[in-house]
C-alpha cells in the first residue's frame, strides 16, 4: 500500500473507523450514565424535602451538646414554619435508677378508647387518620389469640361476651424491632424505653414488620395537625411532630414520664385500668401488682420480654 492513495479529502462529520466494539462501548457507557442518574435521582427529592443542616445531621448518640442545641433550635423553627406552632423541644434523658413498666387491669378496661384519643392528642398524631400508638382489641372471652380480636368495634361497651385488650409498644427487653434496624435509628434506653431518632430513620419499615405487637406506625404522609391543637410540650425522642416517611412508636410519653409525670393514656383512662411506675422501686404500685396479682405478658413464647403486663382481678 502506498500513502499517496489516502488523500486528506474533507469528509462528513462521522466517526471514523466506527467499529462494532466502539458502538457497544458507547451504548454501555450511555446505559451506565443513565443508570447513575436514575440511581441518584432520589437525592433531588431529598434536597427538596430536607435542609442541608438536616441532611448533614448525625446520629442522636453522636451529637455533641452544642450540635443537639442547634438541631433542637432548627426543629423548633421548622415547627413554627410548617405548623405555625410555638413549641419547645426538650432532650429528656432517663432518670438514673428507673425502669418504666406498665400494667393494665383487663377486668376493669371496658374498651372505651379514651386512652387512644389521649395518645393521639398528646403525641401530635396526624389528625386525618386518627393515628394513635394504642390499639384496643375487642376479644372474645376465653382466648388470648389476638388474631380473633377486632379493633373496629363501635357502640356501647363493654359487650357481654367480650373483653378489651389495649395494645401499644411493650418496650421489650429483647426488642426485635431494634435488632432488625439496618441503621441503628432505634434503640433501647437505660430506663427501658425503646426510642427512635426520627431524623436518622430511613423509613425501611423493617421494625414495623418485626414487631409482634403491631406497635410501630409509619408516616405515610406529612402529619396534619392544626396549629392550635399542637401539643407544644415536646421532646426530641418523643412527641415532636415526625417527618413524613419515618417510623414512630409509643415512648411511654417520655416527655412526661422522665419529668416524673404519668403517661397521657393513664391520666385519660376513666376506669383506672392503667398502672404505671418504676419497677426498680420496691414500694411502687407496679411492684405491688407484680407481686400480688396474676400478671401475664403478651406472646410470651416469642421471648421478647415485654415491660408491659396484663392482669385480671
Amino acid at each position: 500500500m502506498t500513502t499517496t492513495e489516502t488523500p486528506q479529502k474533507p469528509s462528513l462529520p462521522i466517526v471514523e473507523n466506527f467499529t462494532r466494539r466502539a458502538a457497544v462501548k458507547g451504548a454501555f457507557a450511555t446505559l451506565g450514565a443513565g443508570a447513575f442518574v436514575a440511581a441518584i435521582s432520589p437525592l433531588r427529592q431529598a434536597a427538596r424535602n430536607s435542609s442541608a443542616a438536616e441532611f448533614m445531621q448525625t446520629h442522636y448518640s453522636e451529637l455533641s451538646p452544642e450540635q443537639k442545641a442547634d438541631v433542637i433550635a432548627r426543629l423548633e423553627a421548622e415547627a413554627k414554619e410548617k405548623y405555625d406552632a410555638d413549641v419547645t423541644i426538650a432532650d429528656d434523658r432517663p432518670i438514673p435508677g428507673t425502669k418504666f413498666v406498665y400494667a393494665i387491669n383487663l377486668s376493669v378496661c371496658n374498651g372505651n378508647g379514651k386512652c387512644v384519643e389521649a395518645c393521639h392528642k398528646e403525641n401530635n398524631h396526624d389528625r386525618d387518620t386518627n393515628q394513635s400508638y394504642i390499639r384496643v382489641i375487642e376479644m372474645p372471652k376465653g382466648t388470648m389469640d389476638m388474631e380473633k380480636g377486632s379493633t373496629t368495634y363501635t357502640g356501647a361497651v363493654p359487650k357481654d361476651d367480650k373483653f378489651y385488650l389495649p395494645v401499644q409498644c411493650q418496650q421489650c427487653d429483647e426488642p426485635p424491632c431494634v435488632d432488625v434496624c439496618p441503621v441503628k435509628a432505634t434503640w433501647k434506653e437505660e430506663d427501658g424505653i425503646v426510642v427512635v431518632d426520627y431524623n436518622w430513620c430511613i423509613g425501611c419499615r423493617y421494625c414495623e414488620a418485626a414487631c409482634p405487637y403491631h406497635a410501630r406506625r409509619f408516616n405515610w404522609k406529612k402529619p396534619e395537625v392544626p396549629a392550635k391543637e399542637v401539643n407544644p410540650d415536646q421532646s426530641y425522642l418523643s412527641n415532636r411532630i415526625r417527618p413524613v416517611g419515618v417510623v414512630e412508636k409509643c415512648t411511654y410519653c417520655l416527655h412526661r414520664t422522665r419529668r416524673g409525670k404519668l403517661p397521657a393514656c393513664l391520666e385519660a383512662c376513666p376506669t383506672g385500668a392503667r398502672v404505671f411506675g418504676n419497677i426498680l422501686d420496691p414500694k411502687s404500685n407496679i411492684r405491688w401488682i407484680l407481686e400480688n396479682k396474676r400478671v401475664y405478658i403478651l406472646k410470651e413464647e416469642l421471648g421478647t420480654k415485654p415491660a408491659f403486663f396484663y392482669y385480671f382481678d
Partner: protein
C-alpha cells in the same frame, strides 16, 4: 548490616513492647483505683444509712427528703344537699340538708328500695346488693353515714365505709391498682391526685356504667379499599 527492613522491624518491635507496657500499666492503675471506688461507694452507702435511720425516728424528715409531695385523694364536699324545685318570694331557690326532713321523721330501718316510699326519693335507682338504706345512712344523724358497727362516718370519709365490704378493692386502691389517678408517678417531683369510690361508682347503683366508643384510629388495613378489586389470594365474594 543496616538494611531498611531491619530498621523497620526494630522500630515495630519497640512500638509493640511500648504499647504492651502502656496497657499493663493502665490495668494496674485500674486495679489500684478499684478499691478506691469501692470505698467511695460504701462510704455513700454508710452516709445513706444514718440518714434513713434518722428518717425512721422522725417520720416528718423522711417525708421531707424522699417524699416531698402527697397523694391527694379527692373527697366529697360534704353531706349532699337537696335542691328544692320551688322559689321563695325573693326568687331564691333553696337547698336543704338531709336533716331538714329526716330529723323530724321516724327512720324505717327495714326499707330497702325507693318503691316502698310514698314521699321523696322515688326516682332513685338503687341496685347495690340487698342493702337497706340505713345500712349506710346514719339514722341518728342523717347528715352523716355509719359503719356496720354504728360508728358515725362523715360523708367526706365515704371510702372508709365502702372499704368495710369492698376490702380487696380498697387494698388495690391503696396500691394504685384500682381507681384512676392524675399527676406524678414520682412523688419527689410532684403530687398525685386519685379519685375516690363515688367519683366513678354511683353509691346507690355502683356498677360501672356502659360507655360509648368515641374515637377510632383509621388504620390503613381497616379502611375499605374502594379502588381495590383484585382478590388474588383473598377470599372471593359475589358483590361485584
Amino acid at each position: 548490616m543496616l538494611r531498611p527492613t531491619n530498621l523497620i522491624f526494630a522500630a515495630t518491635s519497640i512500638l509493640v513492647v511500648f504499647m504492651i507496657a502502656v496497657v499493663v500499666s493502665k490495668r494496674a492503675g485500674q486495679d489500684g483505683l478499684a478499691p478506691v471506688a469501692e470505698d467511695i461507694r460504701s462510704g455513700t452507702r454508710q452516709e445513706l444509712r444514718p440518714a434513713a435511720d434518722t428518717g425512721s425516728s422522725k417520720a416528718s424528715t423522711t417525708s421531707a427528703t424522699t417524699r416531698t409531695h402527697p397523694v391527694i385523694i379527692r373527697q366529697p364536699d360534704g353531706p349532699p344537699r337537696v335542691k328544692l324545685t320551688g322559689f321563695d318570694p325573693q326568687g331564691r331557690s333553696g337547698e336543704v340538708a338531709c336533716s331538714t326532713c329526716h330529723s323530724v321523721r321516724q327512720p324505717n330501718l327495714e326499707n330497702k328500695t325507693p318503691e316502698t316510699l310514698d314521699e321523696f326519693h322515688q326516682g332513685l335507682v338503687v341496685n347495690h346488693g340487698k342493702l337497706a338504706c340505713y345500712a349506710c345512712h346514719n339514722p341518728e344523724d342523717s347528715d352523716s353515714l355509719k359503719l356496720a358497727d354504728g360508728t358515725k362516718v362523715a360523708y367526706q370519709d365515704v371510702m372508709t365505709m365502702c372499704s368495710q365490704c369492698h376490702g380487696p378493692q380498697a387494698t388495690a386502691f391503696a396500691h394504685g391498682a384500682h381507681g384512676g389517678m392524675n399527676g406524678h408517678w414520682d412523688l419527689t417531683r410532684g403530687p398525685q391526685m386519685k379519685n375516690n369510690c363515688v367519683d366513678c361508682h354511683d353509691p346507690h347503683s355502683p356498677a360501672y356504667p356502659k360507655m360509648m366508643v368515641g374515637f377510632k384510629p383509621k388504620d390503613r388495613f381497616n379502611a375499605p379499599r374502594a379502588d381495590h378489586h383484585d382478590h388474588e389470594g383473598a377470599e372471593s365474594h359475589d358483590d361485584h
